[in-house]
């Protein structure tokens, strides 16, 4: 009974003693210890800085999504991978404006929607032109879904829409590149051999963010109806739900509505896809995981190399201190106590490497955060990454310190004392 009580106490006492010994040993061989841990330092520094970079990127992306709006849902045509629709031609897959009639009444979670077209066109003003400007057809409701203000002129109205007038909104970049005046309202530009009157200037996309740069800033907007009549184009839709929390309901309603309006049978797969900003987040997370896995592999290798270094130095330490081990055994150290001493030394050495690595990682993170235009200014090392690093470093210590420690524990006291 007494043994049951004293055994853990003895272990704790030995552990404390071993830690003190290990620290003393490392302090006595400062240079050697530091060099030995280089592998661990590099491993931990790279894993922490990669995680820091991804964390920063993620924070940035989330912030961008907030400005983009997380309550947007894109509705795009989609070929099913299996079933009878696989063989459908594009005429059956593409959307028609009629299929969206009555959407707002049938989908209570949707606040608004706009049909959209999107094509690259060359636009002209006199001798000036822009190749590959984005020409978008939009409903007037677009202005309520996108938070982009009209900085000059007026937004689109129902009149523009219903009459299919050849009017347009342009972004400041288009205005500047076509050498139009600041006051360009009422001027005409040519798109696809047709003349469009400028009725307003709408601000450009959010810039600087991860997704702000995705599309061109040279955009021209025309009424959807006009685009539809002129080009008979592929169309898609952008809807906004009343609240971001309603996103799931809104998607369910849309799906139900579209399946009906597109006359899909009960067993038919969807011929459209709903894309939510969160979907992009999932894609981002997948990408981040892939990067982490690759980084993890690199880190694994450097920790392995570091571990072999640790094992080597521990073997040196054991053979250097053979006499000491013999003496400790002679005065009553059990093999387990010797094992513990060397294991603790190896673990402490690795944790020391982990500490240096974390500091180096912090340094690298501060440098990364200063890279301009890399969207990494929010990079920081999360606490769990530090815990993970120390956990890994400690495990390397246990794993690679085990063999030298067992070697020490098994030494015969007399032989050890006779060692030179």
């Amino acid at each position: 009974m007494l043994r049951v009580l004293t055994a853990p106490l003895l272990f704790v006492a030995l552990l404390v003693q071993s830690i003190r010994l290990a620290l003393g040993q490392i302090w006595a061989n400062k240079m050697r210890s530091t060099l030995t841990t280089v592998g661990i330092v590099i491993g931990v520094a790279s894993v922490t800085s990669v995680i820091a970079a991804l964390t920063g990127l993620r924070a940035k992306v989330l912030k961008d999504f907030e400005t983009l709006g997380t309550n947007k849902i894109f509705i795009v045509p989609h070929w099913p991978r299996e079933g009878k629709f696989r063989h459908f031609n594009w005429r059956q897959i593409r959307f028609r404006p009629k299929q969206f009639e009555g959407l707002l009444e049938r989908c209570p979670s949707i606040e608004d929607y706009t049909l959209m077209t999107d094509r690259g066109q060359t636009v002209y003003h006199g001798v000036h032109s822009i190749d590959g400007a984005r020409v978008n057809g939009i409903n007037p409701s677009w202005h309520r879904i996108e938070n982009r203000s009209v900085v000059a002129g007026r937004p689109f109205t129902l009149m523009d829409e219903e009459n299919g007038w050849q009017v347009c909104l342009i972004t400041p970049d288009v205005r500047d590149e076509l050498r139009l005046d600041r006051d360009c309202i009422g001027r005409r530009i040519v798109i696809d051999r047709r003349s469009f009157q400028i009725v307003g200037v709408v601000e450009g996309r959010v810039k600087g963010g991860m997704f702000g740069d995705m599309g061109s800033s040279k955009e021209v907007f025309i009424p959807f109806e006009t685009a539809w009549r002129l080009w008979d184009p592929w169309i898609y839709a952008m809807a906004s739900c009343r609240k971001p929390e309603l996103s799931k309901e809104a998607q369910a309603e849309l799906r139900f509505f579209l399946r009906q309006s597109r006359r899909l049978g009960p067993g038919d797969p969807d011929t459209f896809r709903l894309e939510v900003i969160e979907e992009y987040l999932k894609t981002f997370n997948k990408m981040a995981m892939a990067i982490t896995a690759v980084a993890g592999g690199v880190v694994g290798i450097s920790l392995l190399v570091g571990g072999v270094g640790i094992m080597n130095i521990m073997l040196v330490s054991v053979s250097e201190r053979t006499r000491e081990i013999g003496l400790r055994k002679a005065v009553g150290a059990k093999p387990s106590a010797i094992l513990l001493q060397f294991l603790v030394e190896s673990v402490v050495l690795c944790l020391f490497g982990g500490l240096l690595g974390t500091l180096a990682g912090q340094g690298m993170t501060s440098l990364i955060a200063k890279i301009p235009n890399a969207s990494l200014d929010m990079a920081y090392i999360p606490l769990w990454a530090i815990g993970l690093s120390f956990g890994f470093a400690g495990s390397v210590g246990v794993f690679f310190g085990m063999f030298p420690a067992i070697k020490a524990a098994r030494l015969d006291p007399i032989e050890a004392l006779r060692h030179e």
Binding site: L10, V331, G332
Partner: protein, 241 residues
């Protein structure tokens, strides 16, 4: 009976050759005895001491310490015996160079466990005082003379109040003057009731003991009591007081 060896042998294998370092030792040692082991170099004295000190195992025969058979103990069990019942003094001191005198003396107490930091410290100080080194507790081995080093080693051997103090040529590395001081320390420890078994090849050192064993070729060839200096019960009472 403290020590009882029955037909103990120790065989070393060197290549194909077998060296019988101990060739059938029978020995009994009572508490409070003061035994000197003598013999030519290579006669097996150290081998015998290592077995008595549970540092080594015999190849044959039995060794009972305090009535317990040690031959079947695991290496952990032997470590426990070394820690609690045996104090070993080496010819070459074997102090840990990075620890000061106090820490060196504390070492066996650490492995014994069950003591607080303060208790260890107090005990170690007390033992250092007992060997006359109260003023050297913070000194490291390289700051001590040979005699002082051996005193620290003796204090370390005594730290767990062992039932037997073993010393293998404790004065072998010391000059004759220092040797005499160390021997006087052993005498005093014996007077206080400590059982001692000591190896020496010097006649005048052996003369301090009350019993002298002579060894040759791994055997005890003579076992003589040189005047009964064993403590009487009255002496012990005086000492306790």
């Amino acid at each position: 009976m403290l020590i009882c060896l029955k037909n103990v042998t120790r065989v070393y294998k060197v290549g194909v050759e077998r060296i019988h370092a101990l060739a059938g030792i029978n020995l009994e040692v009572e508490p409070n005895e003061y035994v000197a082991v003598m013999g030519a170099s290579g006669s097996g004295k150290s081998t015998l001491m290592n077995i008595l000190g549970c540092l080594d195992r015999c190849s044959g025969g039995t060794y009972e310490l305090n009535g317990r058979d040690t031959t079947r103990l695991s290496s952990g069990g032997l470590a426990h015996v070394r820690n609690t019942q045996i104090g070993f003094v080496f010819q070459s001191f074997e102090l840990l160079p990075r620890l000061n005198a106090l820490k060196n003396v504390e070492l066996p107490l650490i492995y014994a466990g069950g003591t607080t930091w303060l208790a260890r410290r107090t005990r170690a100080k007390e033992k250092l005082e007992r060997v006359g080194l109260a003023g050297r507790i913070r000194h490291r081995p390289n700051q001590l003379s040979g005699g002082e080093k051996q005193r620290v080693a003796i204090a370390r051997a005594l730290s767990n109040n062992p039932s037997i103090l073993l010393a293998d040529e404790p004065t072998g590395n010391l000059d004759s003057h220092t040797s005499r001081d160390i021997m006087m320390l052993f005498d005093e420890l014996h007077r206080q009731g400590q059982t001692i078994v000591m190896v020496t090849h010097e006649e005048d050192v052996a003369r301090h003991a009350e019993r002298i064993l002579h060894m040759r070729d791994g055997k005890i060839i003579s076992d003589e009591h040189t005047g009964d200096r064993r403590l009487t019960p009255e002496d012990m009472e005086v000492d306790d007081a």
